[in-house]
């Protein structure tokens, strides 16, 4: 197989780069080792925030790309038809002596180009956020901060990239990179060799391993785990903004925020782990996250029962301390886009533009496509969005949108089929595209139904449907097999 630009990694960065490059006349291929986009450890498990950009040290790539990315997300979210809510953030000082930190961050934000930062005092703070800890002294208000769904964004970016000609290959893992005469020539994968002129390494947690395949060893990625607790949508308007504590030495601290889907999440904590696949949650981790949450919103301590789920993500912490977005002389044709931890999600659109520029500088003639289609149709949720009149119009066209399968989130068979049409082949793939299984019963009711629909649409036996690819099969035996073994019926 041959391509011009091969992007390794289907997380938010890889998909953002794909979509950006799909505006131009180059042949682009994206490979992702898991069964679906965003199935890795960072894109689908983070705080889902589009940051304002005052945190990062001025002069760093993170500091340059974050406010720019924040700005770009408005248009991008609207073109991709994904929900993005600019609810603003409050970084809260609970002690008088911490107010100077707010002032420092505000100054830093100014240097980084973050607009409209303001320090809000006690009384007004509580008006903005009635359930905030009453001991809050002041808060740094950043109106440009917002919330988004990171895996929905990555999946939408990949869909739009595909719409515009990008080839997306799932379950395709880079195993080696062929460097000849000082040039990266091809990427060997578990499904064959792909010849390419340029390799863009956006492999997240494994970016250092992919770089090593090309003989590059100037950075290392350490997985830094963060655990989260998810609250029931029932909590309603308990929290209005993204709430930050004072930043810690290695992370932004335990946040409490509404999600774009209406839940509240708390987290993350931060500690380094050895295994890049270690997405385990711990009881001490959950307690730490909840304690941090209670400091910001004490009311949460009274609704422990409203926690419906918990999860963990891994930040790809770079040994260099900052984002790595650069091309190399040796080997030529290799671009690293690595160590994109927080504010990676926010910076993604800006980083994508940076990569396009680098390719331009490397001599790739990027001619704009005349037929680039920026708009992506979202999967419709006529019942979930509870607009009976709008739903009636939709149902007249496709009545399967009237068969509710996930009762907690009101997801219909029509949406599930559409998700499968858009490359979902697993239970989690359907879950991330439709929210089926993310409600209060966590898939208890809908899982048998979703499994059957996936099997039917893909023409495979139900026993072959997995949770998220690999060996994550859900049903191990069909009826009676354990009692009488395999038979030729």
């Amino acid at each position: 197989m041959e391509t011009s630009v091969l992007i390794v990694g289907g997380g938010i960065i890889g998909t953002a780069i794909s979509r950006e490059l799909s505006k131009y006349d180059a042949k682009v291929t994206l490979i992702e080792k898991e069964a679906d986009i965003a199935f890795g450890g960072a894109t689908r498990a983070n705080t889902a925030i589009v940051h304002a950009g005052y945190d990062d040290k001025p002069g760093t790539l993170a500091a340059k790309s974050c406010p720019e990315g924040n700005f770009l997300w408005s248009r991008l979210a609207s073109e991709l038809n994904i929900p993005f809510k600019r609810i603003g953030s409050l970084l809260v000082a609970l002690e008088d002596e911490d107010v100077r930190v707010l002032e420092e961050l505000m100054k830093r934000g100014g240097i980084n180009g973050v607009p409209d930062l303001e320090i809000i005092q006690g009384r007004e703070l509580l008006q903005m956020e009635p359930n905030l800890n009453k001991e809050a002294v002041a808060g740094l208000y950043a109106p440009t901060a917002g919330i988004i769904c990171p895996y929905e964004a990555a999946m939408a970016l990949a869909e739009n990239a595909k719409q515009n000609g990008v080839q997306v290959l799932l379950k395709t893992k880079a195993t080696d990179i062929v460097v000849k005469d000082g040039e990266a020539r091809a990427v060997q994968t578990n499904r064959g060799t792909i010849y390419t002129r340029y390799v863009v390494n956006a492999a997240g947690l494994f970016a250092d391993e992919v770089a090593a395949m090309a003989g590059i060893g100037d950075f290392k990625i350490t997985p830094r785990k963060g655990e989260y607790a998810v609250y029931d949508k029932d909590l309603g308007e308990l929290v209005n903004h993204v709430l930050f504590p004072l930043p810690g030495p290695i992370s932004k601290g335990i946040v409490v925020t509404p999600t774009v889907d209406g839940n509240i999440i708390a987290g993350p904590n931060a500690y380094d782990v050895e295994d890049k696949g270690d997405l385990t949650t711990t009881s001490s981790g959950l307690e730490e996250v909840l304690k941090g949450a209670y400091k910001l919103v004490p009311e949460l301590s009274r609704v422990r029962d409203a926690v419906i789920s918990s999860f963990a993500g891994l930040r790809p912490q770079p040994s260099t301390g900052d984002f790595i977005v650069k091309s190399y002389r040796e080997p030529y044709g290799f671009i690293n886009v690595a160590g994109i931890k927080s504010p990676g999600l926010t910076s993604a659109p800006a980083i994508a533009e940076m990569v396009a520029n680098i390719l331009q500088e490397e001599g790739v003639n990027l001619r704009e496509k005349s037929d680039f289609e920026p708009f992506r149709e979202p999967i419709a949720h006529p019942i979930r969005d509870v607009n009976p009149t709008k739903a009636e119009e939709f149902l007249a066209r496709d009545r399967l949108y009237g068969h509710v399968v996930c009762r907690c989130e009101h997801v219909t068979e029509g949406e599930i089929i559409e998700a499968i049409r858009r490359d979902a082949t697993t239970l989690d793939g359907v879950k991330y595209r439709t929210r089926a299984g993310m409600g209060r019963c966590q898939g208890g009711f809908c899982t048998p139904h979703v499994l059957k629909i996936i099997a039917r649409e893909l023409g495979v036996p139900v026993e072959e449907v997995t949770k998220r690819g690999g060996h994550s099969t859900i049903l191990l035996y069909s009826a009676k097999r354990l009692l009488i073994g395999e038979r030729d019926d």
Binding site: A479, K480, L483, I484, D489
Partner: protein
């Protein structure tokens, strides 16, 4: 050969009391029943030791039906130690649709003098 007296424990399930009944047996003969809260419990514990029985119920595969499985039960309880044998016997079966509730699926299963009947109907697909 001198035979031994065996002491066995039976937990009665007939009522919420859940009496733990002690039964002394020798040579298959009941010698003594202790700690039974009532006469029914006493009788139950003796039956449990002499010839324990259980309700038998499982599913059977269906061919050509609206649903792939048919729930079935035995018309009378079966000996406890024959439960798995009955399960294996029925596992070999594939019943053609349609099936009506009450239909005899297997007559006199494993010569136990008990039938296996359908507990639901399955229409043809």
């Amino acid at each position: 050969m001198k035979t031994e007296t065996e002491t066995r424990e039976v937990v009665c399930i007939l009522c919420p009391m859940g009496c733990e009944i002690t039964v002394k047996v020798r040579d298959g003969e009941i010698l003594e029943v202790e700690d039974a809260g009532c006469k029914r419990g006493r009788e139950y514990s003796i039956k449990e030791l002499k010839s324990p029985v259980r309700d038998f119920f499982t599913t059977v595969r269906v061919e050509g039906g609206r649903t792939p499985m048919l729930s079935v039960r035995s018309t009378e309880p079966v000996p406890k130690d024959m439960l798995m044998a009955c399960a294996v016997e029925l596992a070999k079966l594939v019943v053609p649709a349609p099936v009506n509730i009450g239909d005899i699926i297997v007559k006199d299963i494993l010569h136990l003098g008990v039938d296996v009947i359908a507990t639901k109907g399955v229409e043809r697909a």
